[in-house]
Amino acid sequence: MKLEQKIQGKEYWRSLDQLADTPEFNEFLQREFPENASEMTNPVTRRKFLSLMGASIAFAGLAGCRRPVEKIVPYVTAPENIVPGKSLQYATAMPFGLSSYGLIVESHVGRPTKIEGNPRHPLTKGKSNRLIQAEILNLYDPDRSKNVLKNGTVSSWENFSAQMQSLMGEFKKNKGAGFAVVSGSFASPSMFRLYEQFKKNFPNADWITWEAISDENIYNGMELAFGKAFQPRYDFSKAKVVLSLDSDFLLTETDDINATGGFAKARKVDAVKEMNRLYVVENAFTSTGAVADHRLRMQTGMTPAFAVALVEELRSLGVSVKGEKYNVDGTLFDRRWLKTVAEDLVKNSGNSLVLAGRRQPAVVHAICAQINEALGANGTTVVYSELRDALRPTVDALVQTVEKINAGTVTTLLMLNVNPVYDAPANLEFKQALGKLKHSISFASHVDETASICEWHVPSAHFLESWSDVRSFDGAASVIQPLIEPLYKAIPTLQMAQLFVDGSAKTDHEVLQETWKKKLKGAGFDRMWRKVLHDGVYADEPAKTVQPQVRAGRIAAALQKNPVNFVRATVKNLEVVFAASPAVFDGRYANNGWLQEMPHPVSKLAWDNPAFISIRTAQALGVKNEDIVLIHVNGKRLKIPVWILPGHADNSLTLTLGYGRSAAGRVGNGTGFDVFPLRTSEAMGVAVGATVRLTGETYALANTQDHGSMEGRPLVREATVEAFKEHPNFAEEMVEHPPLESLWKERPYEEGNQWGMTIDLNSCTGCNACMIACQSENNIPVVGKEQVRNGREMSWIRLDRYFSGDVENPYMVYQPVSCQHCENAPCEQVCPVAATSHDEEGLNVMTYNRCIGTRYCSNNCPYKVRRFNFFNYTKDLPEVMQMAQNPDVTVRFRGVMEKCTFCTQRITRSKIDAKNQGRDLVDGDVVAACQQTCPADAIVFGNLLDPKSKIAESKKSPRNYALLGELNLKPRNTFLAKVRNPNPKLADYQPQV
């Protein structure tokens, strides 16, 4: 298929070019859109979308999975499988750095609307996270780049490809000398094939990778320990004792979904014999720290020293850790804490795990590998496998490339899906370097900071619009199949890369099939191809697990070269720690309203990234929340507001990356503060020697939860394992109340389906995935920072976060609260117009059309889970973003109350399906969006009257309790109390810092 031939006038159909010439299509076009042929060159209009939709329907219908077809027919001859109003699911995958997520995407008449995890995929197992959920909004981002640009003026793909073909022809002569590619790191068979081909065709050219936040240190650590950069894979479900050194493995590290799932499994106190125990050492509270049984707040810069001290502690307990003895100052760390942790690790040898966060230097990862080996963890809680089809990220390569640019040896730079002008280390002065290039080409989804100053910019297609493939850590390959034609004139990555490899104009689909034809050799490529597309996973090439041996000499040598820092940061000499944003990651999600409005899991701030500091440091510096300070470090300066975070290490500042973008789009521009200017290639994780000065200015921050204490109320009920074993019903017994009797005969709810939910507080990590899933499923609007500050956020499920214990060193708990669906609902009684009422299945339902907006229901809701449309929040929603809306859910108007419906549209859908199949609903037919997403499986939902259902079983748990149950509201949503597993040796022990 020659796609570049027939672009004029019908660009949408680019890869359906053959269709465009068929009489059927012409007829279709004439009849349906007689005057709009020209309109198709404009940005998305509704008509264009409709035509696209029509094609997509036919498209999807012709094959079991969506794949290009030779011929397309108007959908008046309705294809099979397509029922208007009924969604279809397709398997695809989402690349994310070296990692990837296998997905199932829901599509309504050719329009992807909801993303869920693929149960067959090893890295998602049917679950997902907040970023995956939010990708739908990225697809329909109205600020995406819509044109090929040359020096800022609109050009075309033909122009571009013709010029690049001649340019690459020139480079062919000197084997690519002077040409460099910077791409994101990837693990993709097709991309890697192109990479190798490129290296063959242009041996003198560079192809390097750049990720602002990457696992580079981990791979370097593995290289240090084993001589080769293996991929460590942790099995948290087998780990009885976990020690995390500055690793937020449950949220912001790689493979978070698996980690959360495995960890939660080992924590199911009702199911497992012995609950796991987690020790966390970190500077700022994270979701992982919240779940920890023991948390030691410690400056990030001290972590390597701690790791070394741990090795010595283990040695003193008789563990034979390879290598020489380290000299550790015994007074540096809390001895009792360290000793107890070491003992616990030793006691559970073989089932213990030590891991470090990605911002820790390579040597710490090597030491962790060393410890794990010594503790016999290899093969159980940690396995190593080889990286395949993967290009690792390296900062050094970028540094060298910039040097080459500055030296004039690199004259042409192609940037594939990277934004180095924004996120490259500040000392590289990338922007200046870019100006020295002869040709600079930015391939990006947006005209971002980099694209806007490049010679060429080519819009990059979203993964839901393009063909590609990925390979997960365990070797399973997945095909990324598009759900929709590129909305704008975006080019798929494979197609773009192919152009530079050999100048050919192959489509992404052709490039992909070329790779896979080699893979799926033998009989019936088509059949196998279809199966791969359908399953979303090709698991025939499992990763080889290796049993590497630690080479202690290398670690010692590395430590010799770069000795561990044993000096604590002080208030005049602070450390600055760079953290990945749980919302916008490294800035790539900065224009995503859902994620920007998602509260930070610890501070509960939305739309901003203040510097987090401890209470004591704040006192020492004389700052309070929302004060703007001036940070000096490494000769760089930054003005940023501060936010005091309980449990933060003293004399440490945590800065969140990814904010303060200047060319992200309407949502991300100017939101928060850009902290990249403080980050240099030498100090990518932690910078030391910072000073802070008050500026006297303040900056308003938007917080979704002002109050962090439970005020002694039994809201999140928690006990230790011992207490739980002694009093399994502790949660119920925590509140004494008179017998809950009603004045009148209550509705019995004895028939049919009676929906109920439990949320296991012991599993919840506060990751916010449910929140974004709910937002995507239920068309929840984004209201903006100002409204969040006014307390008007719209989320139907929120993650309440409470601190307990010592102010400086507290415990943190999460409680997801959505509508509790009370049988005696206080909201229903007070609505003057009966707009909220109970249905026969026990759902507290909202009739939006009836609601006049008195807000009385919200006032009378003890859980305050109702959300009011104070303004018409969807009025200014760009047309393209309306495509992200779920057609099964009403978009609410101004003046209407809304709240969690237990995904009533999903219940109805399942009931209709069951009825059509002539059967009753069975457990598992109805899955609420939050439940579906939850990587920890904390949410169970189903029919309470079905004795065999999971929910019935869950409600029988002794930990089951109703929040505010003493009000006799009879909520259908109940909680399973939290159980912590503190080490008895550290009971009632406040670690000394």
Binding site: Q705, D706, H707, G708, S709, M710, E711, G712, R713, L715, Q787, N790, G791, R792, E793, R798, D800, R801, Y802, Q815, V817, P826, Q829, V830, C831, P832, V833, A834, R850, C851, I852, G853, T854, R855, Y856, S858, N859, N860, P862, Y863, K864, R867, F868, N869, F870, F871, N872, F893, R894, G895, V896, M897, L963, L964, L967, L969
Partner: protein, 464 residues
């Protein structure tokens, strides 16, 4: 009709000094009061009316913007779903209480001192209730659907939800307004006839002619009139108790700590009378001064009203302390927290304004000197109204802002539109009131005449 007053020293027919000062005759009363309506409009009136109607325009402008933009222009947020709109509603309904109380209850108890202020108070009631009714109407999110609240037959076959106190409000305040209007109008009829008879301009003749309903002052008419008035008074009396009791159920029937309280109905009624009397006092002092009604509205009237204010103020104070006692006595941690938080939390300033204005300051009326001092009582009456507005603010906002789950706690701050609508509602109130005193007799001539010595059958002679 002219009755000559016998000059005599034996003027102490009553145990107490006479209600009407000076030496008025029936005709002097008529002249004085009708004269206000018939005479030239005073400059001061124009100034005041200009001011008040400008404020009223601000109210209407704000409402227009509210309808256009949505109720998000107010400071309300997620925990605090009701803000100043509801505070204002309860405040104005409360003000509206004094009218009925003075007219009906005092009438039934034959408290003759009411006659000088009852017309005044009734008019004030009506206008306060009009101001009150503005707010529940505009505070809903979809104002164009507000008619769903009325039990109108409709194709949806939907009744409103009769379990909702908001619906009870609709009926309670609606009934109160209707009955108050009828009561006020009935009382006006003899005076309207007087004005009709005195009217010179044709337009006035026709208008007063229509509204006086053919009143001729015949015995039979007086008999029917007195009976109707008594019946309406009887009808109004339970309303004095019911309206604010029902309004209080908006709060009392909910589950929110600080709202969920059985003391609310009597406490609200006492508070309403308290604030209503204070407002009558404020207005009466001004009108008396401007129109020179010192002999009709005497210091004795004011003293009695001050006593009522002091008594109801103490009742309100009792309710405040009882709430605290019950919060402690119940052992309910949420309740305890709410009340401690009111007094010492983020809204403590509002709470202490309320306590000072409602409980402490009225105690000054124990002193006869202050009780009978016009400037002092004027200032105190204004304090009482400030305090009573804050009482509603404290109840509505502080309870919502800090309820069961600390996670949803938030702070309410008013916006410019909250303020403009409160100020504007005063503008509306005073505009209506100024129109009333300009065009209708502000004191009931017929009833005043009834308490003059001349009206006493024994006429200055002591009962033997």
């Amino acid at each position: 009709m002219s009755v000559s007053v016998q000059e005599t020293a034996a003027t102490t027919v009553f145990e107490e000094p006479p209600l009407i000062g000076g030496k008025p005759t029936f005709s002097s009363i008529t002249e004085k009061i009708s004269g206000i309506v018939e005479g030239k409009t005073k400059k001061a009136w124009f100034v005041l009316f200009g001011l008040a109607s400008s404020l009223a325009l601000i109210l209407f402008g704000s409402i227009g913007f509210l309808f256009y933009e949505g109720i998000g222009i107010w400071g309300i947020n997620n925990p605090v779903g009701w803000g100043w709109a509801i505070v204002n509603f309860v405040f104005w309904v409360g003000i509206g209480h004094a009218g009925t109380l003075i007219s009906a209850v005092l009438f039934i108890f034959r408290q003759k001192w009411r006659t000088s202020i009852n017309r005044f108070a009734e008019a004030m009631t009506l206008f306060a209730v009009i101001c009150a009714l503005v707010f529940p109407g505009i505070h809903v999110g979809r104002v164009w659907m507000a008619y769903f609240m009325f039990p109108i037959p409709n194709q949806m076959q939907m009744w409103p939800n009769f379990r909702s106190p908001l619906l009870w409000d609709v009926f309670a305040v609606g009934t109160y307004f209707t009955v108050s209007l009828m009561f006020w109008y009935t009382g006006l009829i003899p005076d309207l006839a007087t004005l009709r008879d005195r009217a010179k301009a044709r337009f006035r003749k026709i208008m007063f002619g229509i509204f006086s309903l053919g009143w001729r002052g015949g015995n039979k008419q007086w008999k029917n009139y007195e009976l109707a008035y008594l019946l309406l008074a009887g009808l109004s009396t339970p309303l004095v108790l019911s309206v604010h009791s029902v309004v209080s159920t908006d709060f009392a029937t909910s589950v929110i700590p600080g709202w969920h309280s059985t003391i609310f109905p009597p406490y609200f009624v006492a508070g309403a009378i308290f604030s209503g009397f204070a407002m009558v006092l404020t207005l009466a002092i001004i009108a008396r001064k401007i129109y020179g009604l010192e002999h009709i509205l005497t210091i004795r009237h004011f003293e009695k009203m001050n006593m009522v204010i002091m008594v109801t103020g103490m009742m309100v104070g009792y309710a405040y302390s009882m709430e605290f006692f019950i919060a402690w006595y119940s052992g309910n941690e949420y309740e305890t927290f709410t009340f401690l938080n009111r007094a010492f939390g983020q809204y403590a300033w509002a709470y202490w304004i309320m306590i000072s204005c409602n409980v402490l300051i009225p105690q000054l009326f124990w002193f006869k000197k202050i009780r009978t001092n016009i400037p002092a009582m004027f200032i105190i009456s204004i304090f009482v109204n400030i305090g009573m507005w804050f009482e509603r603010f404290v109840i509505t906002v502080t309870s919502l802002a800090n309820d069961f789950l600390p996670s949803s706690w938030d702070y309410f701050s008013p916006t410019i539109f909250d303020i403009s609508m409160l100020v504007g509602s005063f503008g509306l109130f005073f505009s209506l009131f100024l129109l009333f005193i300009r065009f209708l007799p502000m004191v009931s001539m017929a009833e005043i005449k009834g308490v003059l010595p001349q009206a006493d059958p024994h006429y200055y002679k002591k009962h033997e």
